[in-house]
Symmetry: C2
Subunit: 405 residues, 2 copies
Amino acid sequence: MRIAVLGGDGYCGWATALYLSKHGHDVAIVDNYIRRKWDIDLGVSTLTPILSLRNRLQLWKDLTGNVIEVFEGDMRDYAFLSAHIREFEPDTVIHFAEQRSAPYSMIDREHATFTQVNNIVGTLNLLFALREFKPDCHLVKLGTMGEYGTPNIDIEEGYIRIEHNGRSDVLPYPKQAGSFYHLSKVHDSHNIMFCCRAWGLRATDLNQGVVYGTTTDETALDEGLVNRFDYDEIFGTALNRFCIEAAAGHPITVYGKGGQTRGFLDIRDTIRCVEIACHHPANPGEFRVFNQFTEQFSVLELAHMVEAAGEKFGLSVVIDHIPDPRVEAEAHYYNAKNSKLIDLGLQPHMLSDSLIDSLINIALKYKNRIDTSVFMPQVNWRNASNNRNGTVRTPSGVVMEPSEV
Amino acid sequence: MRIAVLGGDGYCGWATALYLSKHGHDVAIVDNYIRRKWDIDLGVSTLTPILSLRNRLQLWKDLTGNVIEVFEGDMRDYAFLSAHIREFEPDTVIHFAEQRSAPYSMIDREHATFTQVNNIVGTLNLLFALREFKPDCHLVKLGTMGEYGTPNIDIEEGYIRIEHNGRSDVLPYPKQAGSFYHLSKVHDSHNIMFCCRAWGLRATDLNQGVVYGTTTDETALDEGLVNRFDYDEIFGTALNRFCIEAAAGHPITVYGKGGQTRGFLDIRDTIRCVEIACHHPANPGEFRVFNQFTEQFSVLELAHMVEAAGEKFGLSVVIDHIPDPRVEAEAHYYNAKNSKLIDLGLQPHMLSDSLIDSLINIALKYKNRIDTSVFMPQVNWRNASNNRNGTVRTPSGVVMEPSEV
């Protein structure tokens, strides 16, 4: 299968590209390296030192003989993107190429509008390019479980049957996103659903939970293939950040009471879920939604698991409840369905002590690279006009405004 | 009350600004005249000759003594918009300032992305400006009934109680928009809902039906105050366009079977609904939704009403069923609720023969200005990459792309 991985230089994208290349597919990576530039803007970096994309792909070829093509460019540039689709002719496009951090989108107005315009325009360009040049291509799009928010009823996979006033219909599940980033994914979902209906495109929206872990069989082949591992308040997600905080002797930063419950999954399941979606494409005209997570945890449950694991390493782990910088319920009902991918063959890696041990081991291995100043949240949801006191630069890749053109 | 009317040079905005000025409010119009530029791009014009904004406002002042301030600029320019909020200090902002044509948004990729970026960024800028400089200001935002699509259950006003697996919650009503324009309003709704929750802003979303008519008590004062009256396939909506087609001796262009049913309202009710929303503001933190229409009709019902009215004028009216250029159901269930504005005092102007007579009279008065070449649809939903064979220019005000900067 010819598979284009948009955003293949990022955390999930890199692991996915190697896995699909290993499993016999013709893989191309499309990336503009903007994820690396955001680290520069924010003054942070991945715990694990990563090579340039071209160097890590050369190493991959040297080790396995597999060639992954690279198309360097920006999805907001339609000429570039459509040329890629024409030239590579993918059977499947996996679209990871969005700004994916909620705190980043909440820094200030510039980062909010950048996130929404970047994500929406990139996805619209992709939809038009597919329609024009490869309408039978299967679009596998990364969404987020955060699109649903925390409703007081069970969360279904994309759609829900509603009985109302004696009638019935299956309708898109209501969305209550909690940041400008999560909202951008809601916008994407509506746009893609419409294009499937209007143009007969085929798409699978993977509403992914919070991903943890970093090592896959492929990235473990050589240290030069190591995946990025983010632990800062902007791009570091809960479990990964907690493990590094524990290794660094820093209190684990639980936001508020920690009753916030979400779906989580191992990055090894991310790549497997994406593979399953590729092998079972949506039908022409179908907009299909899978909830992509394997287990639910509250943030405090995760903190306690890291605390217990840390003790085995002789680390004295402290859990700190700091004021929640987000606007979210700290205790709520949460029951999300996730059977569709399992029905198609996913065998989950459940979160185990050994996985947490391995994360702490990685953190200890790279301990001298840990910057403990980036753990504490500086971006506050309620104060999104002057977060971080002007210490953050205008986002790389920002679209110019009329007054500036 | 100090009221800013964003987009006050347009069809609904102009009628609203005059009405509120007449009724004792301090009104300011914010506009960048982009609606007039789109006419130039498309080679169309309003049936009724309209003066420049400054001239029509001078006339309004001469006739009534009421001053309406003008702030000329683009909502995508945050420096301009925030300066307006700081300087005018509105108690209420009425936001009409969006690209509001579904066919326009479906012309091609450039018009699709322009519509979404223009509408989303303008509204995000407004939300940030209110949060920063006037957080107690009431935002009255024009949405559209088209956000709901045509579900097989009753359409409620913004929210619906869902019973599911033994639990219950009131959630945002599912959205199934049918064009990139309608989708932009869905995106706005989600963004505004979030900002009300996160920042305590107060907003009323008016999900408006299709507006017909042109004359209000205020615009009738003098021919120089006449409202614009669009009848082309891009900006002319169903009933208005049908009346002009009848007057011009052109077949009425019913798309498909004409069973498409929608909510409609008289422009005199638009201004009254907006006034009601202003006088009954949402609470801080509340995102309130009103369905703003007075009657439901199918497109074919409207065509038959125009046919009957035309006979009284001695016009031989032909109804033409042309292939539906849109992707929509031509026969479907439709039952939308609209009690909230009526409960607050709206007394609807029901569509009557005399109103259709007056529209045909206006059409006959300006008959020499009718361009019959603009009736037939050239924009096809299924073919949104090369509609109108390249005869349409890049939209005025388009945001430049990375490759062009």
